[in-house]
């Protein structure tokens, strides 16, 4: 398996950026908005790939960390009128700190205990907003990134601006994440995931290793949360429900939780399913109840099918098959 050199990867990312630029001009606003949503999921899912796929720790509460990032960004904007990049940076840093704390606590837990704690976190953390009026309660806070600069023209829509910001942030985040995963940190996570006793014997400090994974993963989640807040325009407890954590986990499994390569698959699927389901349901002339719940049903069914038949994700599955074919 050959790896691309850093320079080649940088070129690929730049090309992707250019492609996205042209793309945003060619499609209508709904697609652009959905593109921004895809970007949100790409960053969110990659945070789970880092935590669960590489470091082997399962978190059912990534949505809460998205919430931390979202609120941090909103507060920076409201109280200091900070520029967007600063708001996002604050989101990343604050979420990373939360992740570090969580990681320290989680390092001692494993399996169901970790799952339970993160599940409780997913549900409990957002509702803290109801306790402090600073956080805006159930209604939440507004997060307004402002209108696109006039230099881009009168017709430049708000959603296109969201899409540009989200795409840029995503490209940078994924590029950085790939770097990290190829570094010795990535290798040490894989080692711990494979066999933690052996890894410890080889000199890896388990607590520090796991906490680092949580911290970085949380930082990414915070960015994703800030991007989500940007696209919805508000942060509130109901913007980061338990179902968000489940969706991210689902997207990670659909993409192949152990590798970054298929992350688009999961993200696009999650955004596309409600629309596809809606089209299918109206074609069949279904009732209101069926139409509203079909997306949830499809996503859950996809999740189960993937876990059963393509557990490592399509990317790994293909590579596995190719390797086996060669070996014959």
């Amino acid at each position: 398996m050959h790896k691309l050199s850093n320079k080649k990867r940088l070129v690929i990312f730049l090309l992707l950026g250019v492609a996205i630029y042209f793309l945003s001009g060619a499609v209508d606003e709904l697609r652009v908005y959905q593109g921004a949503s895809v970007a949100v999921f790409v960053v969110g899912i990659s945070s789970i790939i880092l935590l669960t796929g590489y470091s082997g720790q399962v978190s059912l509460g990534q949505g809460a960390l998205l919430g931390v990032g979202g609120y941090a960004a909103a507060l920076m904007r409201i109280h200091y009128n900070a520029p967007i990049w600063l708001c996002f940076s604050a989101a990343i840093i604050v979420a990373a700190i939360a992740g570090a704390l969580l990681g320290l606590a989680a390092a001692r837990l494993s399996g169901p205990y970790l799952a339970g704690t993160t599940l409780a976190l997913a549900v409990g953390l957002p509702s803290i907003a109801n306790q402090f009026s600073l956080l805006g309660g159930e209604q939440g806070l507004l997060f307004d990134v402002g209108f696109p600069p006039l230099s881009l023209g009168q017709d430049f829509t708000q959603y296109k601006w969201f899409f540009w910001i989200a795409s840029l942030a995503t490209l940078i985040a994924i590029f950085w994440l790939q770097n990290v995963m190829r570094s010795r940190y990535g290798r040490s996570w894989k080692a711990v995931r494979g066999n933690d006793v052996a890894a410890e014997l080889a000199g890896i400090n388990l607590t520090r290793n796991k906490t680092l994974a949580f911290t970085l993963s949380a930082g990414l989640a915070g960015l994703s949360g800030a991007l989500l807040a940007m696209t919805i325009g508000t942060v509130s407890p109901s913007a980061f429900p338990l179902s968000l954590s489940f969706s991210l986990l689902t997207g990670a499994v659909l993409s192949g939780v152990t590798t970054l390569g298929g992350v688009m698959i999961g993200s696009v699927t999650l955004v596309a399913i409600p629309e596809i389901a809606g089209a299918v349901a109206s074609r069949l002339g279904s009732s209101e109840a069926v139409t509203n719940n079909l997306p949830g049903l499809l996503v859950s069914a996809l999740l189960i099918l993937t876990v059963l038949f393509v557990p490592n994700g399509p990317v790994e599955q293909l590579r596995y098959r190719r390797e086996h074919r060669v070996k014959k």
């Binding site: 398996m1 050959h2 691309l4 992707l16 492609a19 793309l23 060619a26 499609v27 209508d28 606003e29 709904l30 697609r31 908005y33 959905q34 593109g35 895809v38 509702s127 109801n130 309660g137 159930e138 209604q139 939440g140 507004l142 307004d144 708000q158 696209t231 919805i232 325009g233 508000t234 509130s236 109901s238 913007a239 590798t259 390569g261 298929g262 688009m264 698959i265 696009v268 596309a272 629309e275 209101e288 509203n292 399509p314 990317v315 293909l318 590579r319 190719r322």
Partner: protein, 426 residues
């Protein structure tokens, strides 16, 4: 296929998916064709806050079907697309995006919820897109601000108005009693608090509940606080499910103060459907701006309940239905006034110039003008009968009006003009 190819392939897949289903360009005005006008609505059809309000789409569609069968508006039929947002602001944003960007509705009609409308205004920004937001189903006083929400029109009296009028009623009828209040912990509730503070009302106990947390279990805590403060008169200013939870739990705990129910949550049918015995409602005080739903001497009530009974047989004609159909009626008149080639701009102009002359079932006039997007501005008070129906005190409607500012509460002398023929726009 190696990994690099797969990554590129998935990127191409994304591109294809995005471009593949781009919609074709639209002619004329968005949402308007030669035969129909499409409107969009978001409200809770399911979820904790939905009881009662989920009847509104059925009610509005009943009126629009009746209207369409009678020639529609300037030859066009009115279609209403309804989306469920479960009273969650972020879902309201997503569904409104769908209505505006995908379904391409001409205008939004009666979107429900203070927090929801605020979130939509901040994110989707209908004002910037020129999309009219007609007759929002919330009493938040801020939505009448023409600078902040230039394309938004209120219709319900604001919560500030309601609170001030309630305060006047309390002063007239319950002077000296200990007061308690249950309100929703967001702009809906704080709007009411503003009004009460304006009117100089002090509460011995104020209980805020987080939207979505209302249930029999949490209501036990509310009742605990209210009875500990020995409140004789308690105002329930929440949504229907919160009001029902409060009443039901209080009855189970044998706590029976004088209840005053806010208009948002005061629909008797919904409360009874949640299991609250009619006896608990008996003699509670409630408010409305439309005629009582059991008042068959009223032309509008008779016509609307007829239409509804034929369209949705077996469903009770309650306040949600009456007000829903009324809003649909007003919207139809606005669309008619927008002309034979209606545009979003002409619709807005029509409401500004002719809105105050629109017919409606309410016992108060609409206050639309170029500088005012305020709809109704007052209430009458009544008591719930032994069967739990709201009836005006002494059988006479006495309407109090005020504003959302520091204006005084005065009795209204306005008489409602006769209903236009067949209840259709003229």
């Amino acid at each position: 296929m190696n990994r690099r190819t797969l990554i590129s392939a998935s990127a191409v897949l994304a591109v294809a998916a995005l471009t593949a289903t781009s919609l074709p360009a639209q002619a004329a005005e968005v949402g308007v064709s030669s035969t129909s006008i499409t409107l969009g609505m978001t409200l809770p059809m399911t979820g904790t806050a939905s009881p009662g309000y989920n009847k509104i789409p059925g009610a509005m569609k009943a009126y629009f079907d009746y209207l369409n069968a009678n020639g529609g508006v300037n030859g066009r039929s009115i279609n209403l697309k309804v989306e469920d947002d479960q009273y969650v602001p972020t879902q309201a944003v997503a569904k409104t995006n769908k209505l505006i960007l995908q379904d391409k509705v001409m205008a939004l009609l009666a979107p429900l919820g203070t927090a929801n409308n605020k979130a939509v205004a901040a994110s989707v920004n209908p004002a910037r897109r020129g999309v009219p937001v007609l007759f929002v189903n919330t009493g938040f006083s801020g939505f009448a601000d023409t600078k902040k929400y230039p394309t938004t029109y209120a219709i319900l009296p604001s919560y500030v108005m309601e609170a001030k009028i309630m305060a006047q009623y309390i002063k007239d009828n319950f002077a000296g009693k200990t007061l308690g209040l249950v309100y929703q912990d967001d702009d809906f509730g704080t709007d009411a608090l503003k009004g009460f503070t304006q009117a100089g009302v002090t509460f011995a106990a104020k209980v805020a509940y987080a939207s979505g947390s209302q249930s029999a279990t949490t209501a036990a805590g509310w009742v605990s606080k209210l009875s500990a403060a020995k409140c004789d008169v308690v105002i329930l200013f929440g949504v229907s499910s919160a009001t029902a939870a409060g009443l039901g739990t209080a009855a189970a705990l044998k706590y029976a103060p004088q209840w005053i129910l806010g208009s948002v949550g005061g629909d008797a049918t919904t409360i009874k459907a949640a299991g609250v015995p009619a006896g608990v409602l008996y003699n509670a005080v409630g408010a409305s701006f439309a005629p009582a739903t059991t008042d068959m001497t009223d032309d509008y009530v008779k016509l609307f309940s007829d239409i509804y009974a034929k369209a949705v047989p077996g469903s009770a004609f309650d306040n949600n239905v009456l007000i829903g159909m009324n809003t649909a009626f007003v919207a139809a008149q606005a669309l008619k006034a927008a002309g034979t080639s209606p545009t979003r701009a002409s619709l807005l102009a029509a409401i500004d110039s002719k809105g105050s002359t629109f017919a409606s079932a309410a016992l108060l006039p609409l206050n639309y003008s170029k500088t005012s997007h305020v709809g109704y501005n007052g209430y009458w008070f009544g008591k719930y009968s032994p069967t739990g129906d709201l009836k005006p005190v002494d059988g006479k409607y006495v309407l109090y009006t005020t504003d959302s500012g520091s204006g005084a509460v005065v009795k209204s002398t306005w008489t409602r003009p006769a209903m236009p023929a067949k209840g259709l726009p003229q």
